[in-house]
């Protein structure tokens, strides 16, 4: 280990994005919670209401962005935690790609749902 490490800044980029998404999430998550639990109470949620909101472009894009940031932040957080525990080699590659695929599915599924509400059409 005493030899030089190669300069590798990916760790730094991911670290920074984790903070940037966190800063974004603070606002959006708080808004999300507030809207869906306090403005509208949990038992009042229906398809219609959601659909009405989703048809607004601003709300739709905010939610999609919310989904993307949350997914990145959450999945990257998990990946990071695993590296901190010393995940290396093949195992690490496997975990990494599993997480990427899972995020992919999550995003696709999430966007399809949003589209269903927005009435854009589910592909």
């Amino acid at each position: 280990m005493a030899e030089h490490y190669s300069s590798f800044t990916e760790g730094g980029r991911l670290w920074l994005w984790q903070r940037i998404t966190a800063a974004f999430l603070v606002v959006v998550l708080a808004f999300h919670f507030f809207l869906l639990h306090f403005v509208y109470h949990a038992d009042e949620v229906t398809f219609g209401l959601s659909a009405a909101r989703m048809q607004t472009w601003t709300y739709y894009s905010l939610m999609v962005l919310f989904l993307i940031t949350a997914t990145f932040h959450g999945v990257n957080g998990v990946y990071n935690a695993l590296i901190n525990q010393g995940l290396t080699g093949t195992k690490r590659q496997v975990v990494k790609w599993t997480l990427v695929v899972a995020s992919g599915i999550l995003l696709v599924q999430g966007i399809r749902t949003a589209n269903a509400w927005a009435g854009i059409g589910v592909f």
């Binding site: 280990m1 190669s6 300069s7």
Partner: protein, 299 residues
């Protein structure tokens, strides 16, 4: 072991020592016989004396010390030994284990040297925290005092851990001053402002005790993580104005690789245990920001 007076009771029965059983040369045998004769009497005398002392000095402290020796059969299974050490004012954890070694069990093994918190040999895990034995007053601790080797490192024997991994990390950050040029005159100094010295001052105090490294959960998990002490060492040079810009860039590259600063999760346990009060987390955080600044040069 028969050399131990009654105060010392193992949590596990100590098996008979098998060391001097086989193949002793004849000449030596004679000599040993002679010595062995005195020995029993002496042991008894010592035991009595120690007991009397302990009785006279009712004020004893109970310490439980981790024992392990890969080679000695009775110690192959890790265990704790309990010792009752007479308390004196100002007694430190190091004093207590020295007493236990010199009076109860000479095979009790630990590193120590300076007795004044400068050599960094005696970082132990005392009552659940990394502390320097010589700098920890017994009177500040709850009894029984549990003394273990530093966690997350291989135990060599008793309280001695293998420090090689720690040293490797320390040496991986180019831990030496490397200016672009030195003044021409042999007697010419490289000037440094007071403010700049002040900035690096705390970081230069590290005594390589390894307490911080042992306390950090990331270092425990990720074997390649440079760890707080090595990052602090990098900070010490990166922030020194006397080194040139090119070298500073170099240093930032070293610390910002994957197993460098980014692994730090700001647990603060390193800062909490450092016997030299070095603000390690603060230094690591500053390095992170420097690295980000450097990478965001585009604006």
């Amino acid at each position: 072991m028969s050399t131990q007076p009654p105060q010392q009771q193992s949590e596990e029965p100590a098996a008979e020592q098998s060391a001097d059983a086989e193949s002793t040369p004849a000449a030596q045998q004679r000599r040993e016989d002679k010595k062995a004769a005195d020995r029993e009497a002496r042991d008894k005398r010592q035991a009595e004396e120690a007991e009397r002392e302990a009785k006279a000095n009712e004020d004893t402290r109970e310490i439980k010390v981790f024992r392990y020796d890969p080679e000695v059969e009775a110690k192959q299974e890790p265990r704790f030994d309990t010792f009752h050490v007479p308390f004196t004012k100002g007694m430190t954890v190091l004093d207590a284990v020295i007493y236990a070694r010199d009076h109860f069990d000479p095979s009790l093994t630990f590193r120590h040297s300076c007795r004044q918190a400068v050599c960094g040999s005696d970082a132990f895990f005392v009552n659940g925290q990394q502390r320097l034995g010589c700098k920890t007053q017994i009177s500040d601790l709850e009894e029984p005092i549990r003394i273990e080797p530093l966690p997350h490192q291989d135990v060599v024997k008793d309280l001695v851990v293998d420090m090689d991994h720690f040293y490797e990390e320390m040496e991986a950050v180019d831990p030496y001053f490397d200016p672009d040029e030195t003044p021409d005159g042999e007697l010419e100094e490289q000037r440094q402002s007071r403010a700049n010295r002040e900035k690096v001052k705390m970081s230069t105090r590290c005594i390589w005790c390894g307490a911080c490294f042992s306390s950090c959960n990331i270092a425990a998990g990720d074997n390649e993580y440079l760890g707080p002490a090595a990052l602090n060492k990098a900070y010490r040079f990166a922030m020194d104005d006397r080194e040139g810009d090119a070298k500073t860039q170099d240093r930032l590259e070293t610390i910002e690789q994957e197993h460098g600063v980014w692994r730090c999760q700001t647990q603060f346990s390193c800062t909490n245990v450092c016997p030299k009060d070095i603000p390690l987390t603060e230094h690591i955080q500053e390095l992170k920001r420097e690295a980000v600044k450097k990478n965001l040069k585009f604006w």
